[in-house]
């Protein structure tokens, strides 16, 4: 059976949830092999095994912990040359997509980004589903040149366990000088408390213009924390400086596909909808009954968020306590 290379997303200690999802998708097309760059593979191995990685190709060292995109692309290109995989999968994060792009140039293969689904086509080949133009159109595409390289959005599929060996094997790749030409000299971590990462979170609570100021975002955070959710913000809120830019959901920010998306005080301009329209369930709280975001709502409350949100938070906390 052909291998399917899966680039593991991790923070040097733990594997991110999306990696389990990628391994689950990969199993449709062959035997998944995880690719781990940098430190922490021993710690992450258990989860890779849980979701079906037969092998873990490992490349360690500062060139990977401090490198940017190019080292990952070089390792994947070398492994792709050696193993002739059925596909190479990575997460459709900013960095993941860039790795996909460089890899595509290196091995002359087609690349598809932001896939929200992956299934075998009529001929057994890989067919990717994308949701484009702000979620208005659903597209089925395939790679017709070379090895399919697919960057898949987090939360596209539920990760399903399928235990495998996760045998660690050195990747054995000597990096070129060119791949070492860009270095991270400092990593600055913005405060997000204990909340999950925005693109990975099962639940996202976002605030917009209606929140009114930076202090009021505490209401959004409290609601999010009652659900174990990530906090997002509309562009109006990040442009106004009420919430940090990296939490922006929308066309010029992050795209999220959570199980539940709660839009609070957000009118729902197309720029915002582009970033959240593929959420499975959408709840809206807005005082304007004409706000276009209500068109997407599975459940909507027309009302003052300063009344509704505290009551909702309290109810959730009560129910969770019982």
């Amino acid at each position: 059976m052909a291998e399917v290379l899966v680039l593991a997303e991790h923070d040097g200690e733990t594997v991110k949830k999306v990696t389990g999802e990628l391994l689950t998708l990969a199993r449709q097309f062959g035997e998944p092999s995880a690719v781990w760059l940098g430190s922490g593979a021993e710690g992450g191995r258990e989860r890779l095994a849980e979701f079906g990685a037969a092998k873990v190709y490992l490349a360690e060292g500062s060139d990977f912990t401090d490198g940017v995109v190019a080292p990952a692309a070089e390792v994947l290109a070398a492994l792709a040359g050696r193993t002739s995989p059925a596909a190479v999968l990575m997460a459709a994060t900013g960095e993941g997509k860039e790795v996909a792009g460089r890899l595509a140039v290196k091995i002359g293969s087609g690349v598809i980004t932001d896939a929200v689904g992956l299934a075998p086509g009529d001929d057994g080949g890989l067919v990717a589903e994308q949701s484009i133009f702000g979620g208005a159109i659903v597209v089925q595409s395939r790679v017709r040149t070379g090895t399919p390289i697919i960057a898949v959005r987090p939360n596209s599929v539920a990760a399903e366990p399928a235990p495998a060996a996760a045998a660690i094997e050195p990747a054995g790749v000597e990096l070129s000088d060119a791949a070492k030409a860009v270095r991270v000299t400092e990593r600055v971590v913005a405060e997000r408390g204990e909340r999950p990462e925005l693109t990975e979170a099962a639940i996202v609570v976002s605030g917009g213009r209606g929140v009114g100021n930076a202090e009021n975002f505490a209401l959004i955070e409290k609601l999010a924390d009652s659900l174990g959710a990530a906090v997002g913000a509309s562009r109006a809120a990040t442009d106004a400086g009420w919430y940090p830019h990296q939490f922006q959901v929308g066309q010029t920010g992050k795209t999220v596909s959570p199980q539940l998306y709660m839009a609070v005080g957000i009118s729902g301009a197309i720029q915002h909808r582009a970033g959240m329209q593929t959420a499975k369930t959408i709840m809206v709280i807005n005082k304007d009954p004409e706000a276009p975001i209500f068109e997407l709502a599975d459940f909507g409350v027309v009302g003052d968020l300063f009344q509704v949100v505290p009551q909702l938070t309290e109810q959730i906390e009560q129910r969770s306590a019982n």
């Binding site: 940017v68 159109i137 659903v138 595409s141 860009v182 990593r187 990296q246 409350v301 009344q307 109810q315």
Partner: protein, 259 residues
């Protein structure tokens, strides 16, 4: 400093965008074209770097005749000149092919710095800076929310999921920018008038030395099998808050097993 800014014309995101039924490529004809939003930030950054360090800003655009509107806007913001790669043979090119075509032009013009928007609002792949850096063999310094140039040294803040990384490299390089980086200027009246006289060089595939067999829809490495409008979401339950809005929302979450 020789700065080249990549500018793409895209369909206005406020319009209803679709694909063409015949070849599943973007329908550019039926909607207004605008300059890709993040490219305005790229132009602004190029202008600021040229103002601070000296040098020239060249706009590089690949696209049909209509894209000349976006080139004019870029020139009216203050860029010095432009190159328009225009050829029917380019239609339907995917990211891989587009990067090959742009790299061929950049190889001819030379550059100290190539600046792109982090992604376009139509394809939204977010791969162009990475692909170009790979093709040109220069550092990729992308997703920048801040750029500093000191001699031949380049330092940026690279936006990450957790905050940002400070990233260092040396010129020549390819950078891409996110919207946090600056506030793009509006073209002044003087700028608009001056833009009319600025040189725009048009290049065909042959002019740029690009093999026509390597670009365009027929040679694309990816293909659309089918597409359809997303079925409208089923109308949800909308309630008016009568003092119990939060409680009813919690009830909904409970029935959906979120709590």
């Amino acid at each position: 400093m020789n700065i080249v800014v990549l500018v793409k014309q895209v369909p206005d995101t406020w319009a209803e965008r679709t694909l063409r039924p015949d070849d599943s490529t973007l329908d550019r004809a039926s909607v207004d074209g605008v300059i890709n939003e993040l490219d305005e930030y790229a132009i602004e950054e190029g202008l600021r770097l040229a103002e601070a360090h000296g040098g020239e800003v060249t706009i590089l655009t690949m696209g049909p005749e209509k894209a000349s509107e976006s080139i004019r806007k870029a020139l009216s913001m203050g860029a010095d000149k432009a190159i328009h790669l225009i050829d029917d043979g380019l239609a339907g090119s995917d990211g891989l092919q587009t990067s090959a075509a742009l790299a061929a032009v950049l190889g001819r013009t030379g550059f100290d710095l190539v600046i792109a928007g982090a992604e376009s609002t139509d394809a939204r792949m977010g791969v162009m800076a990475a692909m170009l850096a790979e093709r040109l063999g220069v550092p990729q310094v992308s997703l920048a929310s801040k750029v500093e140039v000191d001699g031949s040294q380049l330092t940026i803040h690279r936006q990450t999921d957790y905050g940002y990384d400070t990233v260092a490299a040396s010129l020549p390089a390819v950078i891409s920018v996110v919207e946090k980086i600056n506030e793009p200027r509006y073209p002044s009246f003087k700028g608009i008038m001056a833009a009319k006289k600025k040189p725009v060089e048009t290049l065909s595939l042959a002019d740029a030395g690009i093999d026509p067999g390597q670009v365009g829809l027929a040679a694309a490495a990816t293909e659309v099998i089918s597409f359809a409008k997303r079925p409208p979401r089923q109308a949800g339950t909308i309630v008016k808050d009568e003092g119990d809005g939060g409680a009813r929302a919690a009830e909904f979450l409970a029935t959906q097993k979120f709590i």
